[in-house]
């Protein structure tokens, strides 16, 4: 059985049909990329899977649990972590406190809990390379650092599935290489990843599968080389890869 399964997901905002009967199935430990032009419904799909939106019709299941009736915090506790396209850390809190929030609400309570939380925050900040910025406020970080902080926050909920929304976009070539490194590292740790990226080239390097959405419909689903080999598809739906 797939770890994440969605059947017939549709979402309408008034007269705008953002998703039209989307079916997806993602196996455990897969890295699946989601591509599509602006307005194709990618973020809407993530919002439904993370509980921020209720679909008009259809349902999604994660590890057997029905997601589409649950609030976001219960979905988070089931094991789905999420980052945003525009990173949204708590800007006036320190890097440490930002990560501590998620750790606090996933950690057990008890006499040794404070020490365990501290170790967990240190581990997560070391993972994303922000341990030396622990005392800085999130608002002082660069774009790349904010994205890494948000990744650490998503990981702080101890997810088994990560929904990553354009983790590499807007970054320098070096920053994108770092993100590629994170994808590899997270995959090595056994996480399942469903990732939106603007750059098809970035995703094709790390993904087992690529899905392409256009106007709320899945128009391609396959191995990266199959999807990207379709020149017409790439031109029509993905445009030229403008990132070097």
């Amino acid at each position: 059985m797939a770890l994440l399964e969605a059947r017939g997901l549709s979402m309408a905002f008034g007269g705008l049909q953002a998703l039209r009967g989307v079916d997806i199935a993602i196996e455990a430990r897969q890295v699946v990329g989601l591509l599509g032009p602006n307005g194709s419904g990618k973020t809407t799909l993530f919002n439904i899977l993370s509980g921020l939106l209720r679909p008009t019709t259809g349902e999604a299941r994660f590890d057997g649990a029905r997601l589409t009736t649950l609030p976001p915090w219960e979905i988070s506790r089931l094991g789905i972590g999420r980052t945003f396209q525009i990173a949204r850390p708590f800007a006036h809190s320190t890097v440490w406190d930002n990560v501590l929030v998620g750790v606090t609400f996933r950690a057990r309570r008890g006499p040794r809990a404070a020490l365990e939380r501290r170790r967990e925050v240190e581990r997560l900040l070391a993972t994303v390379g922000l341990l030396d910025k622990a005392r800085a406020t999130a608002g002082e970080l660069s774009l790349g650092e904010r994205k890494r902080l948000e990744l650490a926050m998503a990981l702080s909920t101890r997810p088994t599935l990560l929904l990553l929304d354009e983790l590499a976009s807007g970054l320098s070539p070096r920053g994108r290489e770092e993100v590629m490194g994170f994808y590899g590292q997270l995959r090595g740790e056994g996480l399942t990843i469903f990732a939106i990226e603007h750059s098809a080239r970035v995703l094709s390097r790390v993904a087992d599968r690529l899905l392409v959405l256009d106007q709320g419909t899945v128009v391609a689903d396959g191995r990266p080389e199959q999807v990207l080999a379709s020149t017409r598809l790439v031109e029509a739906y993905l445009g030229e890869d403008d990132e070097p």
């Binding site: 976001p72 988070s76 708590f90 929030v101 609400f105």
Partner: protein
């Protein structure tokens, strides 16, 4: 003007400011977590005061014993208000003004029907005596109220900064969606904030009634005060609300001392305007909170 008169005015201002802060805390907390402006805030304090007065007349108990009773009495209203606020449409600031304006009229007329006619005061002898401190003569009731205000602000500051509940409330007030994705039950955080804010209003109402006469329409001035302090301090920061309250209290008493009561409201209004022009987010830099 003698140094003693000046010192007396400043101490009286600090005591008054502590009470102002206590009165504004509930408004600030709800504003922080829901972005809504609760225009019934002052009416709820007055309602707490009337409940306290009614119980005091009936039982003759020390007013301090009635504080938790009035606090608890407002809890069902907290749940009702939260239910209504959840249904507000965007922009929440504006729609909350419309909703709570109507609720404020409802509360005022309800209190007018229940307690018509005259002004009420909990004139407990236990609180009217004077005490001498360092050469200054102070009202025991005002000292007690200031002490309670400091205790409440201190407890809230520690709870918000260092408890699991505090982290949930702070995260919810900054970014509701991001907080929910981190596993925080934002509905529960909001509900607990409403319950605490309404309990504070009910309890503060009893203290208010020991110092000031109650009238059913007296809540508007208290709501305005809470709005001013929240604008000065930024929403949801207990320590900043205390600082803003003390600043307002001292400015008020010094204005009274130097210029008489005519200038009090004008000076406060000018300070508010100055704040809005200089810093829409409040007087205190956010990073230092």
């Amino acid at each position: 003007m003698s140094p003693t008169t000046l010192a007396h005015a400043i101490v009286a201002g600090v005591l008054l400011g502590c009470f102002y802060a206590l009165m504004a805390l509930g408004f600030s907390m709800i504003r922080s977590v829901t972005r809504a402006l609760n225009l019934t805030h002052g009416d709820l304090i007055i309602l707490g005061g009337y409940l306290g007065y009614w119980l005091w007349i009936g039982s003759g108990l020390h007013p301090l014993f009635l504080v938790p009773v009035a606090a608890a009495a407002l809890l069902p209203l907290a749940l009702g208000w939260q239910w209504l606020f959840q249904r507000l449409r965007e922009p929440k600031e504006l729609s909350s003004l419309v909703l709570t304006f109507g609720l404020s009229l409802f509360l005022q007329n309800g209190m007018l029907a229940l307690w018509p006619g005259e002004y009420r005061l909990i004139a407990s002898e236990a609180l009217t005596a004077s005490v001498s401190l360092g050469g200054l003569t102070l009202n025991r009731g005002r000292l007690l109220v200031a002490g309670l205000a400091l205790a409440a602000v201190g407890s809230l500051h520690v709870a918000l900064g260092h408890s699991r509940w505090g982290r949930a409330v702070r995260a919810t007030s900054v970014d509701r969606e991001a907080a929910a994705l981190l596993g925080i039950n934002v509905d529960q955080a909001t509900q607990s904030t409403f319950l605490l804010a309404f309990a504070l209003s009910g309890g503060v109402g009893v203290l208010f009634a020991t110092l000031h006469y109650l009238s059913p329409s007296g809540g508007a001035e208290l709501t305005l005060l809470a709005i001013v302090l929240t604008i000065w301090s930024g929403a949801g920061h207990a320590r900043s609300v205390l600082g803003a309250g003390i600043l307002l209290g001292v400015v008020e008493t010094l204005t009274l001392l130097w210029s008489g009561p005519r200038w009090r409201e004008l000076i406060v209004a000018l300070m508010l305007l100055g704040t809005l022009l200089a810093r829409a987010g409040g007087l205190v830099p956010r990073r230092s909170r």
